[in-house]
Symmetry: C2
């Protein structure tokens, strides 16, 4: 049945066009507005979330070993006490394989329609999702709504669009007519079939469970693989909700809902390693640390493995015609979700002798001070600070901030946010170091820790930042320069290091932000990940093509 | 300079259209005809080949450690005594990296043009190539011309076309305009750059050095990687010739010819392992045995690895309305190049109780006898036998044939071909076994060894053949059946096993043949290889995309 495909066909066509043009487009409004999502949507979403608290999350027909697991705790201090059905690996694999039999044979249109309907229904529940993302990741509400809701849904639609484009690039049938000189030609009828790889596993992360999880989940689903989702133990709910919705749509479309499964576990007794090593697992999508990413890449040898790991993102400050705008922009990038983004900058390289600006020459210290003041100003109002920084997902991040004071000269200390007393919070810590004297900035310091790094010159800054991207990985980079020569040098250096570069951002757009249908997220060309989440290569290998040929009827 | 691109643009457009439609198309005529290639082409090619004999193969500007290597010997008995410049791994990697710097930065059109010009010039030398392929692989002359010449060139053009399509799918620039409600929109100019992975290595095989080598070589070259070609020690000349031509074109186009390098070695002192393990090697294309393929996959962890390995191909005989045509077609498939094709069938499954045919019921033994007689008839004339079977590339294959007699009941013994006395030759050996009593047929027996295998029924035959493909890999399968139900069952079973299926072939087309621009060669979905040589996935991961974004000028 292709009812869902017909329903969403127009949207799919727009998505395909956007992915080709790479201009701005989004099917889902990012504003958490009652005018868009319904006047009662905010309250309904909160009520739905609240109703989950203290309860067991039921998934009808889902395999289970009878145990209930789940120890999520909100970084904002709210007790969640939600449990999820646990299942043994063999139960998950068995159910996934059984359910996959019909899913594999479904048409491209059927699968595409089901995926788009799932995303559509997830969108309608964006307020519920916002609460779930907020209270598992520590994102402030508006960010949790946007990044966990519409922006994540954009990424899901994008994955489905790439998959659809890839699967329909070649005809389902062809007639092959080979001339034979004076004789009759040989005429063969050919049929081409899409063959999914089998079972796919997505390993979720603690900070962006939906935004980072959806690309792999929907790319695999759309290409006919059944999917087992293994959320991070601290951020299960957003993916469990997504799975619940997905299973509902699968069932309505006549498929076994076990095409989409939840592999819930708890910290300390994770099942991830056993799951990804299972010989029936053919695809793994992973978001998380370099160390576990490396383990997955090296051990899940039977599977195609796509990773987004971590890196050290840099900003090079060479010169600017808008000093205030630059400092404000950088301050926001450092503060947003307290630096817990894979795209957040860590190192701000500035020439030791200072830079030229619209406000005259600024010494290295003055640049550092300008950024500090911009952070102070941005976060001066506690309510605003809470809305930007949110809370800290992992207690280890707070500990890291405490330890970081010894790594350089502290320009700005990290502080808790007033009024969020039950929450784990930390505003950005800013340190000064000299690249000639310290390597402290070359390690990833995940969270609200940033370094203003003295370099010999703009060229030296570019070279150091690009080398750091090659060595440790990086997803984003930014440069501020008023001359084309420096911008060109930065473009060449960061491109060759596999990093996306933003130039002279001063307005309401930030280096942390990756736009669906336009930006390539992760290049796959440095240690920050082995795959791009947003290109044809991300989907092209999730299925294969087989063919049947026969003589055409005379 | 894009002169070469303009020259070949029309051909490229046709190739792109053919790859989309998957109908018949070829840019290069397969007939070894003087009318097409020039009246003196045959003699010129032979003379050029002969001039190589006993000499050192010079490659101007190629890195070398001063040693000369090479111990190729024609399976037809002709002494070759050609030596090639050897180089240390570090010399090869260093030269490749240096040459790659400018190649990486070349435009898509520049690189595409250079690749198509190389292929064009290789085509002009198809007669010389035919001699080189014949006297390294043992293919008979016409086959060496076709498979080593135009058909291999087709595959090269195909790889370039896929690469071009993939690189140009996304725009080089985009404008991203995000509405901001009542405020001015945010407008960003974006630039997208192709970032090749780096250095690619192609490991050639002994039987189809060009046909199997070109896809990886040209897919990597076109996507901006510099390429090191490591031929099989027994089949260096065809690839050395190709490299010589490639370097000439690169030089003319203003590039360092070391973008394309030869890594020559000798049996017993192969440099393959050290080469593919080098940390700078980012892509490996391998054609060869499962055991070495597995080694490469498991050890060249720093690289994207594409393999075509081996498998056990099957034919299921369920019924036929053209018994004679079927037997003749199977006989040719078994005889062509003495079964030394990755696409050649090994096992012919026939129901134990026989089959219905246009010539009445045929018992199992009568089917086996029919195939035997067809082989005898096909190869009855020694000259014709020589033209079909050619010679045996590897002495170990002859040894394997000798040992195979004990594996079942020999219906037809393998014999040397009269009149090819200096050559290693062997016509097909045909054995009978019962699948209920023997597993001898389940191992790959590379070369002219085939089994007629008794199965319980057509269904049992399909199930056994498909299972064998899953377990041991398979690239091709064929089925003979007069009813749609059996054909459908075979289509489902072989598709799910990742094997391309040919139905009821009786004319001048054979299960061994894979047509450029139409057939998918290797599915990547069973142990016969991890990649398809002829789809978007084969090229999409050879490069990455990086981006530069900045505020649009107001």
């Amino acid at each position: 049945m292709t009812r869902f495909f017909e329903t969403h066909r127009e949207m799919l066509d727009k998505a395909l066009a956007a992915a080709r043009d790479r201009g701005y487009w989004s099917p889902y409004p990012e504003a958490p507005s009652g005018k868009i999502y319904g006047e009662t949507a905010k309250d309904d979403g909160e009520a739905a979330f609240t109703a989950r608290l203290g309860n067991s999350f039921a998934l009808a027909g889902h395999p289970t070993n009878g145990e209930l697991v789940g120890k999520e705790a909100s970084p904002f201090g709210l007790p969640l006490e939600i449990t999820y059905p646990a299942a043994d690996i063999d139960q998950l694999i068995g159910a996934s394989k059984t359910a996959g039999e019909a899913w594999i044979l479904a048409s491209v249109e059927e699968r595409t329609g089901v995926c788009l309907e799932i995303i559509h229904r997830i969108n309608k529940r964006s307020f519920e999702m916002a609460n779930a993302v907020m209270h598992t990741t520590g994102q402030a509400f508006v960010m949790a709504f946007q990044a966990g809701g519409p922006h994540a849904q954009d990424r899901a639609v994008e994955a489905v669009a790439y998959a659809y484009a890839e699967m329909t690039r070649n005809p389902a049938t062809a007639t092959w007519t080979k001339p034979q000189g004076k004789h009759d030609p040989i005429v063969m009828d050919k049929e081409f079939r899409i063959l999914p790889r089998g079972i796919a596993v997505t390993i979720g992360c603690a900070t962006f469970p939906t935004w980072n999880g959806y690309p792999g989940i929907f790319a695999s689903l759309a290409t006919g693989n059944s999917v087992i989702v293994k959320p991070h133990p601290t951020a299960v709910l957003p993916l469990a909700l997504s799975i619940e919705i997905g299973r509902e749509v699968l069932r309505e479309a006549g498929f076994d809902p076990n095409v989409l499964l939840l592999a819930a576990d708890e910290a300390g007794t994770e099942i991830t390693k056993d799951l990804v090593l299972h010989p029936e697992v053919a695809i793994v999508d992973f978001t998380g640390s370099n160390s576990f990413g490396q383990w997955v890449r090296e051990n899940a040898r039977q599977a195609q493995v796509y990773t987004e790991e971590a890196g050290v993102n840099s900003i090079v400050v060479a010169s600017t015609d808008n000093f205030k705008g630059m400092c404000g922009n950088i301050a926001f990038s450092l503060s947003l979700y307290s630096g817990q983004m894979c795209t957040a900058p860590q190192n701000i390289y500035v020439p030791r002798d200072g830079i030229e600006t619209d406000a005259g020459h600024k010494s290295f210290d003055e640049v550092a001070e300008g950024i500090k003041i911009a952070i102070d100003k941005l976060l001066g109002d506690p309510a605003r600070a809470a809305g930007i920084c949110g809370a800290i997902a992992n207690p280890a991040t707070l500990e890291r901030v405490k330890q970081a004071g010894s790594l350089g000269e502290v320009i700005r200390a990290s502080e808790a946010i007033e009024g969020l007393d039950g929450a784990r919070t930390a505003t950005p810590m800013l340190l000064k170091i000299d690249a000639a004297q310290s390597d402290a900035h070359l390690e990833e310091r995940f969270g609200p820790i940033a370094f203003v790094v003295a370099a010999d010159s703009a060229e030296d800054a570019i070279a150091r930042a690009a080398q750091s991207a090659r060595d440790k990985g990086a997803i984003t980079a930014a440069v501020y320069a008023t001359d084309e020569a420096t911008l060109d040098k930065a473009a060449d250096a960061f491109s060759r290091a596999g990093v996306s570069l933003s130039c002279n951002l001063t307005g309401n757009i930030f280096v942390n932000q990756s736009a669906a249908f336009s930006d390539y997220h992760v290049s796959g060309a440095n240690p920050a990940g082995n795959a791009c989440l947003t290109d044809a290569a991300f989907v092209a290998n999730r299925f294969r093509v087989t063919a049947i040929r026969r003589h055409a009827a005379a």
